[in-house]
């Protein structure tokens, strides 16, 4: 008998037996390349140009560059050099972002993404078994509480709107808190301040 049918059977068995799309650590091999992989530089890719010693294909802008449309908003940032303060140096006492359902919802969403990790969804912070955030519950990191505790002097619960904004805008963060200046936009920071106030009002009830 010809070997051909046996060979065919073997191939079919191999094809059905082996697993398709199994995991592999080597990059996918495209048999027909078309122009799938082009030598151009893409976002966050590595460059082999030897003069760029940091190997980034995304070059840093010249120092002091201000991107189009990112000049400090005079209402949200009256003093562009000192976040959260009025030009006369006093703290902004009233959140300049208008309060409506949309901004409050935006504030809730941003708070849940960035703040709740340590301060908890309720803003009660803390650590140990009583901790409200996922970091505080597991690791002994001091996390402030936004709510005024009875019989205790809680500085963080009594800050002005401008001071909350300043902490969110600080390029170095505050105490154990990292900086969120690059991660949360100016308008979103004020939206978060609105949401902190909403949480505090809920906590009083």
């Amino acid at each position: 008998m010809s070997l051909m049918p046996k060979f065919t059977l073997l191939l079919v068995a191999l094809a059905l037996g082996a697993c398709r799309g199994g995991t592999s650590t080597s990059p996918p091999v495209h048999l027909v390349l078309d122009m799938d992989f082009q030598p151009k530089l893409k976002s966050q890719s590595e460059s082999s140009f030897e003069n760029w010693t940091d190997r980034r294909s995304m070059r840093l802008p010249a120092e002091g560059t201000v991107a189009r449309g990112s000049l400090p908003d005079p209402i949200l940032m009256p003093d562009p050099k000192s976040a959260g303060r009025n030009p006369d140096g006093s703290w902004i006492s009233r959140n300049p972002l208008s309060l409506n359902a949309e901004t409050l919802e935006r504030g809730r969403e941003r708070f849940d993404i960035y703040c709740s990790i340590c301060h908890g969804l309720s803003g009660r912070g803390g650590n140990g078994p009583e901790g409200h955030g996922l970091v505080g519950r597991r690791w002994p990191v001091a996390v402030p509480n936004f709510h005024a505790a009875e019989g205790k002097d809680n500085r963080v619960a009594n800050l002005t709107d401008g001071e909350y904004f300043e902490v969110l805008s600080s390029p170095v963060g505050r105490n154990t808190m990292p900086s969120y200046a690059a991660r949360i936009s100016v308008a979103d920071r004020w939206a978060i301040v609105h949401y902190i106030r909403a949480l505090q009002n809920l906590g009083k009830q």
């Binding site: 049918p5 799938d36 590595e46 010693t53 990790i117 990292p178």
Partner: protein, 220 residues
């Protein structure tokens, strides 16, 4: 008279024809089955320079994807976080872990070689396809639709073929992947319900949702 060709040799042409036909079928099958992105691209799980676990961060700790992938709502790329984002927590949490040696070296005090952590990109689209994360996030398409249950992956791997046919399948009938307002796109456990499919269908008929299927939507 000696028989030069025994009787069975009469069947050779038949066998040859059958064999050729089978071979043709096998070739077609192999190309269709094995050369497909469902085999070639699915399952790519490169070894990353730092043994980072999405299962721990996104799964067990339940962090929102956007905490680290912060450009996902505003730009085409979800962006891999910089060392500063990692160190925001890891200055205090597990700051002596051996797994974070490369991160600490990279972050340092600015005296290092300033080379970003060489994370390896997992989801490789062809370079002539222009995908935007922001558009999909704003339509409330969940992360899991393309990336699978990343919160259950120790090391991230590609689970969907990300081929053009696969993209078009969803662009032609996206109901099961569009989430209703109020459901986070980053909610990993969400699955479509009859109500969510009906709501998405209504948005499609009203024209609020209009996934393009023309060439220049992705190729420009």
């Amino acid at each position: 008279m000696t028989v030069l060709f025994p009787k069975w040799t009469n069947k050779i042409p038949v066998f040859a024809a059958l064999g050729a036909a089978c071979k043709g079928l096998v070739v077609i099958f192999v190309v269709w089955f094995w050369f497909s992105p469902k085999h070639i691209d699915v399952g790519y799980q490169p070894e990353q320079p730092i043994l980072y676990s999405h299962k721990l961060h996104a799964g067990l700790l339940g962090m929102d994807c956007r905490y680290c992938h912060r450009e996902v709502e505003s730009g085409p790329h979800a962006t891999v976080p910089d060392a500063d984002t990692c160190m925001g927590c890891h200055k205090q949490v597990k700051n002596d872990s051996d797994r974070l040696t490369l991160l600490r070296d990279n972050y340092g005090d600015g005296s290092g070689d300033n080379i970003p952590i060489p994370w390896i990109k997992v989801h490789l689209l062809p370079d002539y396809a222009y995908f935007s994360h922001a558009v999909h996030m704003n339509a409330n398409v969940g992360c899991t639709s393309c990336h699978g249950r990343v919160d259950q992956m120790e090391i991230v791997r590609q689970v969907e073929p990300l081929s053009m046919g696969w993209c078009l399948e969803c662009h032609r009938a996206p109901e099961a992947h569009v989430r209703p307002a109020g459901v986070k796109p980053t909610d990993m456990a969400w699955t479509p319900t009859e109500a969510s499919i009906a709501a998405a269908r209504e948005r499609l008929t009203r024209g609020e949702l209009n996934p393009p299927t023309h060439c220049s939507a992705c190729h420009r």
